[in-house]
Every structure is written in structure tokens, then in C-alpha cells.
């Protein structure tokens, strides 16, 4: 074992040192700050033990001053006192594993080189991903086994908005994964853009990055993290919903080039049962609405057939059609009881008319569609259906192109950014629910590789602590079974306490940026010790605390300023020119 770290002080004995924590008196010419790693070797009678720890708090005190005014007397040169600087150290590892207290008086040194690796348990990790920089400017590594699902998976990121924590952290993580020699070919990423159009430019170089005076230093830091190409994400597919009134155009403003319009055909809407994602409100699940929705969804599926000459459209037969819906033969339009429907509005209109027919309800012919549901419930269902059709306008139409999932995505760029901002909250839920369920279903059918990383912000909206919804069930399913199937959830939220515990508790990697003080006190952050919990209220931009199963203490990690554009205003000139050409020819 090499001990190339310089001495920084001695273990103090005015209070007992313990096997869990101890204090270091800092030498006059040395400096020790919070998050620094230290090592001390104790000559225990039963054999030398090296204790590794991380500084959790630093103190400065005037020894000899016992009253507040003493300091003023000291400053005035009247009272002699000794400036004493100490550091509180939380033990992260003892080597060999004999939990003894370091002896007071033993020299504490900075953990560097091999000792740093041991302090951070890097010697126990077989595959690592450098996920950010520690306080010493060197990479902090994540155990890949706990990220890609081998031993654990899922990432939970918490933090208040506006201090570049959640999205930046998720993006940096994804970017570094895509640069990782072993992982880059095994990773697919689905990112939802829920704020502005920020993520629609991540494939462009960041102008502000290039203008930074510390550019060379930033380059060096990203290189240290394993980034081979410093700039925008190399290969990204952008998806936006159709523009109202112009379904062929993407509904976004700052970028038109290379943005594809997504949607689902009525045929897929029916055969994949996407109707359930129109009833995602927690209140829907409590009422009878979900029962009616289930009946209607089932009945649509039983009668659905493709229609000859109407690709993507769905037709409905007078009665159930046997066999797997995927293998049903296309019918002529004339054979149909209803349709062909080329968009959701038509289908909904037909359904509303059917369910609103009092005669049909009275004779019991509507029984297959609504069971014994009361007329009021059916009425509520149709009203909800109508508003859904209105809000999903354009997303379900026969010429729509679905975002490829599973095997269909083989030739797609590894990263897909789905732009949701401009959609109504209702439609956002529909899209997220549909894509999550499609992703998960594709994995259930297919192979574990490539591993699908799903980056989803505002998890509290999709998997709230209270209530239930189809999306929440899908997310819990992903959280519980996803890692073995190859779906890894990178979830972000302002407050983990508002997210379903099944989702947050299954995350192997927990990250937090600056937290609201009240939020930081909640039990969801039990993985933070009191000192880091206090720190979490003060974290600066780009700084996060990371906990991973392989390391028993949260570590402070910093992400350098991103070289990819994170807003339209950051796009480098070359990128803007391309946009202008695309827009104006």
C-alpha cells in the first residue's frame, strides 16, 4: 500500500475518536475541506489498521477564548489565543475490516492514489463509470453493476428546480454512459423534455462552453471523465407532437430541423389498448370509470380489424373477431359495422353516439360495452372520452409515426428525446404512459440488451405517493422488475417524499442536488447523514450528493459545465446556421 498523501494533521483526543467518526487537528500549513478524503493508520496491538474517511464538517476556533468578547480582545492584540482548525471525519472504510477507533495523535494524511481508490471502494468494483468529479478534481466512479441492472439499477435524482441539478445530472450521466467503451453499444436512452425546449438542442455544441475562459480546463475535466468527443450529443433522435392545424409539422419553435412528428395510428391505439392512458387521473381509478374504460377497451379490441386501403385506420366488426388482433386480415370497408376510423375523433364520436343511445342501453345491446354500469357513469365516461379526443388531437391518426421501441428501434439513434412541453398535461400523461408501457412490453418480449434508460422528470406527477393510475403501475413495475428485463429508470423529482416509495426505494443510485430545507428532513433522505443533509440545503450549481450501494457514505460530485447546448440560446453559431437553412431554404 502506498501512502503518497501528505500529512494534514493528527487525530484529536480531547474527545474520544470512534470507529465511526473522529476529528483531525489540521496542521498550520495544511488545509482540509469538507468532502476531502483522509486516511490514518493506527498501530493497533493486533495489527495495523488503516481507517479511511471523508471530511463532513470543518471547524475553526480560538483556543483560549471562552467568552464571545474574548475574540475582540484577541483581535485587538490584548488577549493571546490560538487559532485551531479541526475537521470532523466520517469513517467510510477500515482496512482490514477490524472496527477499531483510530488512535489520537496518529498522523492523518490525504488519501491519494491507491488510498483514494480504496477509500471510495473502487477496488471492489469490476466495472465503473466516472460520473463526475470529486472535490480533489479527480473522477468519482459509479459501480456499473448497480446502474445497468446486473446487481441493481435505477437512479433517483432529487432537488429543487432552477439550480441545474436534475436534468443536468441525468444528461451528464447519459452522456458519459454513451462514451463508456463497454456500455456505449449496449445503451438506448429515452428522454422526456418537459421544460421549455431545452433538450431539443443537446446534439449541438454549447456556445457558452466555447466562450468560457476556463475552456481548456473544462476540456481536461471532461476528458478525465472519459468523454471522447467534447461537444453535443453525437446521435440523437428528436420527436415532437404534431403542430395543431398542421399535423405534418413538429410542434416546437426553436428547432425544426431533424425533429420528427410522433403519434399513434388508430389501429395501434385499439390493439395496444392505449385507451387506458386516457384515464390516468387518480380519481378515475376510484370511480367506476375505470370499469367502463376496461369494458370498452376490451370490446374495441375484440371487434377491431385493419381495413384494406386504409393503412393505420381501424375498423370495427359487428361482433367479436377471433384470433390475435395482430394477425387479423384486413377487411373491405363495406364489411365493417363502423369505420374505418382514421383518427381518434372519429372513433370517439362513434362511441359517444353508441353509448348515448338510450334505446340501445335499454335493450341491453350495449351490455358488452358497459356491463351493468349506471347511466351516470357511462355519461361521465363519454364526457371524459370527448375531452380526451380533444386534447389528444393529432396524436392519434392513421398517418402517424410511432416512436420505435424495442427491436423496431434498432436503426434509430441511441438517444430519443420526446418533446412534451407544449402538450396539455393530460396528453403528456398519455404519451409518457404509452411510451413507458411500450418500452416495458418490448423488453418483456425481447432481450435484456440493449439496456433502455428512461429519463423522466416530475416523477411525482406520474407515480404519486397517493392514489393509483396505469402509469404509476407501469412505473412501479419498471422499478421492481425493470432491472432484470433491461429497463432502467432515471427518475427525477423535486421532492422524493411525494413519489411512490416503491419507485424511489428501488433506486440503487440516489442523487440529490440542493434540497428544500423541510424536504431534506424527510425520511426519504435517510441515506444522507446529518452533516450532508445540512449540506444539501447549500449545494451550488452543478454539485450533487451521490449515494451508491458500493460506498456507504454519500459523496459530493461535481459536473463540469456541459459542452452540449442546454437551451436554444446556447447553440453554437454553426448549429444556428443549419437551422436557418432548414427553415428558410
Amino acid at each position: 500500500m502506498t501512502a503518497d498523501g501528505g500529512p494534514v494533521g493528527v487525530v484529536l483526543g480531547h474527545q474520544a475518536a470512534s470507529s465511526q467518526s473522529f476529528q483531525v487537528g489540521i496542521d498550520e500549513d495544511a488545509s482540509l475541506e469538507v468532502d476531502d478524503l483522509v486516511a490514518v493508520t493506527t498501530p493497533d496491538p493486533a495489527g495495523e489498521v488503516t481507517t479511511y474517511g471523508v471530511v463532513t464538517e470543518a471547524y475553526a476556533q480560538l483556543e483560549g477564548a471562552s467568552m464571545p468578547s474574548d475574540t475582540q480582545a484577541y483581535t485587538a492584540g490584548q488577549m493571546p489565543a490560538q487559532l485551531v482548525r479541526t475537521a470532523e471525519v466520517q469513517v467510510v472504510r477500515v482496512d482490514p475490516e477490524r472496527w477499531i477507533a483510530p488512535h489520537p495523535g496518529v498522523v492523518a494524511r490525504r488519501a491519494r492514489g491507491e488510498e483514494r481508490e480504496r477509500a471510495l471502494y473502487e477496488d471492489t468494483m469490476t466495472r465503473t463509470l466516472a460520473m463526475g468529479l470529486g472535490r480533489d478534481g479527480l473522477p468519482i466512479r459509479l459501480d456499473l453493476d448497480f446502474l445497468d441492472g446486473t446487481k441493481g439499477g435505477h437512479v433517483s435524482i432529487s432537488g429543487i428546480s432552477g439550480v441545474a441539478t436534475k436534468t443536468s445530472t441525468a444528461l451528464a450521466l447519459v452522456r458519459l454512459l454513451l462514451a463508456h467503451p463497454d456500455m456505449r453499444r449496449r445503451v438506448r436512452v429515452l428522454i422526456f423534455n418537459v421544460k421549455g425546449e431545452d433538450l431539443l438542442h443537446i446534439d449541438r455544441d454549447n456556445r457558452r462552453y466555447a466562450e468560457r475562459p476556463d475552456r481548456a480546463d473544462l476540456d481536461a475535466r471532461w476528458t478525465a471523465l472519459g468523454l471522447d468527443h467534447i461537444g453535443g450529443f453525437p446521435d440523437v433522435g428528436f420527436w415532437a407532437p404534431p403542430r395543431p392545424g398542421a399535423p405534418g409539422m413538429p410542434d416546437c419553435e426553436t428547432r425544426l430541423q431533424d425533429v420528427r412528428v410522433f403519434g399513434w395510428t388508430p389501429w395501434r391505439f385499439v390493439t395496444e389498448g392505449l385507451l387506458r392512458f386516457c384515464f390516468t387521473d387518480a380519481s378515475d381509478m376510484r370511480s367506476q370509470l375505470s370499469f367502463v374504460e376496461e369494458r370498452v377497451r376490451g370490446e374495441l379490441l375484440r371487434r377491431a380489424v385493419p381495413v384494406d386501403g386504409y393503412p393505420g385506420s381501424v375498423g370495427l366488426m359487428p361482433g367479436p373477431v377471433p384470433g390475435d388482433p395482430e394477425r387479423r386480415t384486413a377487411r373491405q370497408a363495406g364489411e365493417l359495422a363502423a369505420g374505418p376510423f382514421s383518427d381518434l375523433e372519429g372513433l370517439v364520436e362513434w362511441l359517444v353516439e353508441l353509448l348515448g343511445d338510450d334505446e340501445l342501453m335499454r335493450t341491453g345491446d350495449a351490455r358488452p360495452w358497459v356491463g351493468n354500469a349506471a347511466a351516470g357513469t357511462v355519461g361521465a365516461f363519454t364526457r371524459r372520452l370527448q375531452s380526451a379526443a380533444h386534447r389528444l388531437r393529432g396524436l392519434v391518426r392513421s398517418d402517424a409515426m410511432a416512436i420505435p421501441r424495442g427491436e423496431a428501434a434498432q436503426n434509430e439513434p441511441p438517444v430519443a428525446v420526446v418533446h412534451l412541453t407544449r402538450l396539455h398535461d393530460f396528453a403528456q400523461r398519455f404519451v409518457v404512459g404509452t411510451l413507458l408501457s411500450q418500452t416495458f412490453a418490448a423488453k418483456e418480449r425481447g432481450t435484456r440488451d440493449p439496456i433502455e434508460f428512461v429519463v423522466l422528470d416530475e416523477l411525482n406527477k406520474y407515480a404519486p405517493r397517493e392514489g393509483s393510475s396505469p402509469i404509476k403501475e407501469t412505473l412501479i413495475d419498471i422499478a421492481q422488475r425493470g432491472r432484470s428485463l433491461g429497463v432502467i429508470l432515471v427518475g427525477a423529482q423535486q421532492q422524493a417524499s411525494l413519489v411512490a416509495p416503491e419507485v424511489t426505494q428501488n433506486a440503487a443510485v440516489r442523487i440529490t442536488g440542493r434540497l428544500d430545507p423541510a424536504e431534506a428532513e424527510r425520511s426519504e433522505y435517510g441515506w444522507l447523514n446529518p452533516a450532508t443533509r445540512a449540506r444539501a440545503r447549500l449545494l451550488m450549481q452543478g454539485r450533487v450528493l451521490v449515494s451508491q450501494p458500493s460506498v456507504p457514505a454519500p459523496l459530493a460530485v461535481e459536473f463540469p459545465f456541459p459542452p452540449w447546448a442546454t437551451a436554444a440560446g446556447e447553440v453554437a453559431q454553426a448549429g444556428r446556421a443549419q437551422d436557418a437553412i432548414a427553415q428558410f431554404g
Binding site: G64, S69, T75, M79, P80
Partner: protein, 332 residues
């Protein structure tokens, strides 16, 4: 309602530190008031740039009283194990006051000519010393003497023409020193100035002193007032001493410097029961010395342990002063 002009001025002292005023003063030397050729009135030294000051103080701690019985002698010998410490605070030379020198010595002595050797126990080591008389107070006097020796060594080491050395207490051991040393006496066991001379003391303002007066053959002395407890009577009065061997002019200079510069270091009543005469650097230094002498209970335990292996030796390693390492220790 009493007449305010006849209001009394009362100096209040903490009883924990002995009587503030005691007529049974042992110092019975003659006092002469005609040494400084000035009129008997408060003197205000003219302002001059503050120079460097060095405060020196010592402390002692009796750690065990011993009774040494020998197989061949029916009469047991009294002995003592103790620690003495002395330190120096440098102030006024820059921004901050600092402890620049601090020494702790442990020794064991017993009555008679023979040295008592105690083997080291833990971190405790005692120098064997001889030379205590056989009267009941001799041991205690010897302890005080060793503390004085340590203080004196520091005073000699730090002596420098520009530096005013302020010793805590009377100049008992350094009356022959030629360096710029003054003693700062807190308590007034004996009132040296009587009658109209004494009235001048009551009239002193902060930053003023009485003219010099001689005590016996070897000391010149003055009274001065420190701030913080009012300006009446004997409140805040400090008595300074300088060796007469320096000569009148040098003594006047030292008295003037002390009068001008010591008020800045006056103790504050809320902080120190002996304020203002116990000056802040001295108070802090004393606390530090007591702390550095170590835990008395721990010392007693060590003496008990060492006593099992103790022996008396005839060859007295003479009563040389307690050794002080040549290298100066920085702030403790």
C-alpha cells in the same frame, strides 16, 4: 439623601484571591518619596508610539504531599511533588498577542540534603531536588522559589532594550536585573504612601502615575490607574516596580511606558474577578499554564505509582535552576 461630594469610593475584590488590603504586610522596607525630582502630583507621561511588551507569569501546582519513611530512621521526612510553569506573552509588536514561550517542570523535594528520586510514571517525570530546610514552610517556599527561577530565566532570555518586560507580582527575584523589567503588583498588602502622598493615588486618572518612590535599597515603585472600574479611590490602582539598579532615568522611562501602555491590557470585570489589575495577557497565560501543568488527579495517581519505586540519594545534583531548553517554543 447623602451629599454626593462625600460619597465613598469602594474597591470590590473577589474573596477567593485573598484580602485586597492587608495591613500585616511582610515587606517592611523603608519608603522614600524624594527620589524623583518633581512635585507630588499625578504625572501623565507624554504620548509615544507603543512598543513591544512581554508579559511573564508563572504558576505552581502542588501535586502530592509526601511522607518519606526510612527503615533506619524513626523520623519520617516531609516531601512534595509539584509542577511549576512559566510563560511569556508578546503583545503590541504586531496585530495579535501571542504566547511565545511556555515551560512546565516537575520536581520532587524532601526535607534535608538528600534528593528524592521518583521513577517516571506515564508521561510524568520529576527532577530530583534537594535544599529544603526543615521548618514547616520550607517546602512551600522552595516550590515558590523554583517558580520564580523559571520566570527569571524567561525574563533574562527575552530581555532586550526596546522590549518592556512586565512580570506578574513583585520583583522578588529580579531586583538585580539590568534589563527593562517592571513588576506589576495587583494587591496592596501594604500601603506605601501615607498622608498627602497617599491622597495623590486617589486623584490619579487612567493613564497617570504617581512620582517614583523608593522601597528599600533595591526597588523604585509607583502607583498607576487602570480603566474599567471607575476613577475614584483605590479602584483599578496597580503598583509598578522597577529595579533601582537601572538608575532613576531608566526607571522613569519604564514607569512612563507602563503607565501609558498597560491600561490597554487591563482586565475586564465581567471576565476576570481580579480585573482590572490582573491584565488580560496575564489572565490568559495563567489559564494556559494551569492547563499545561496537566490534570492534578492524574498527577497524584502517577506519584502514587512512582512512590513504590522511589529512593533517596545522598549525592545532591546541586540546586541548579530548572533546565529550560535552549530552543524557543513557539506559541503553545
Amino acid at each position: 439623601m447623602p451629599d454626593p461630594s462625600s460619597r465613598l469610593s469602594i474597591h470590590v475584590a473577589d474573596p477567593g484571591y485573598g484580602p485586597g488590603l492587608d495591613a500585616s504586610e511582610m515587606d517592611a522596607a523603608d519608603v522614600r518619596t524624594d527620589v524623583e525630582p518633581v512635585a507630588w502630583a499625578p504625572l501623565r507621561p507624554r504620548a509615544r508610539p507603543a512598543g513591544e511588551l512581554l508579559f511573564i507569569d508563572g504558576a505552581q501546582q502542588i501535586e502530592a504531599w509526601l511522607t518519606v519513611s526510612q527503615a533506619d530512621d524513626p523520623r519520617p521526612l516531609a516531601g512534595v511533588a509539584f509542577a511549576v510553569a512559566a510563560g511569556a506573552v508578546r503583545a503590541g509588536h504586531g496585530d495579535r498577542a501571542e504566547v511565545v514561550d511556555l515551560h512546565v517542570r516537575r520536581a520532587a523535594i524532601c526535607e534535608g540534603d538528600r534528593c528524592l528520586h521518583l521513577p517516571p510514571a506515564g508521561a510524568f517525570r520529576w527532577d530530583p531536588r534537594a535544599g529544603s530546610g526543615r521548618d514547616p514552610f520550607a517546602l512551600a517556599r522552595r516550590v515558590g522559589q523554583m517558580r520564580g527561577e523559571l520566570e527569571l530565566q524567561l525574563a533574562e532570555r527575552w530581555a532586550s532594550p526596546e522590549r518592556l518586560i512586565v512580570l506578574d507580582g513583585r520583583l522578588s527575584f529580579v531586583r538585580d536585573t539590568h534589563g527593562p523589567v517592571v513588576g506589576a503588583v495587583k494587591s496592596h498588602h501594604r500601603i506605601y504612601l501615607e498622608g498627602e502622598y497617599g491622597m495623590v493615588v486617589s486623584r490619579l486618572a487612567v493613564g497617570e502615575r504617581t512620582p517614583l518612590f523608593a522601597i528599600g535599597e533595591d526597588r523604585l515603585s509607583w502607583y498607576q490607574r487602570l480603566p474599567g472600574v471607575g476613577e475614584g479611590g483605590w479602584a483599578g490602582i496597580l503598583r509598578g516596580e522597577a529595579p533601582r539598579a537601572l538608575g532613576l532615568e531608566a526607571a522613569r522611562t519604564l514607569a512612563d511606558r507602563a503607565t501609558a501602555e498597560l491600561p490597554r491590557y487591563a482586565g475586564r470585570p465581567h471576565r476576570d474577578p481580579r480585573a482590572p489589575q490582573n491584565m488580560v495577557p496575564i489572565m490568559t497565560l495563567e489559564g494556559r499554564l494551569r492547563h499545561r501543568m496537566g490534570d492534578r488527579k492524574l498527577a497524584l495517581r502517577a506519584v502514587r505509582q512512582a512512590a513504590a519505586g522511589a529512593w533517596l540519594e545522598d549525592a545532591a545534583p546541586d540546586a541548579a535552576p530548572l533546565p529550560v531548553p535552549a530552543a524557543l517554543t513557539a506559541a503553545a
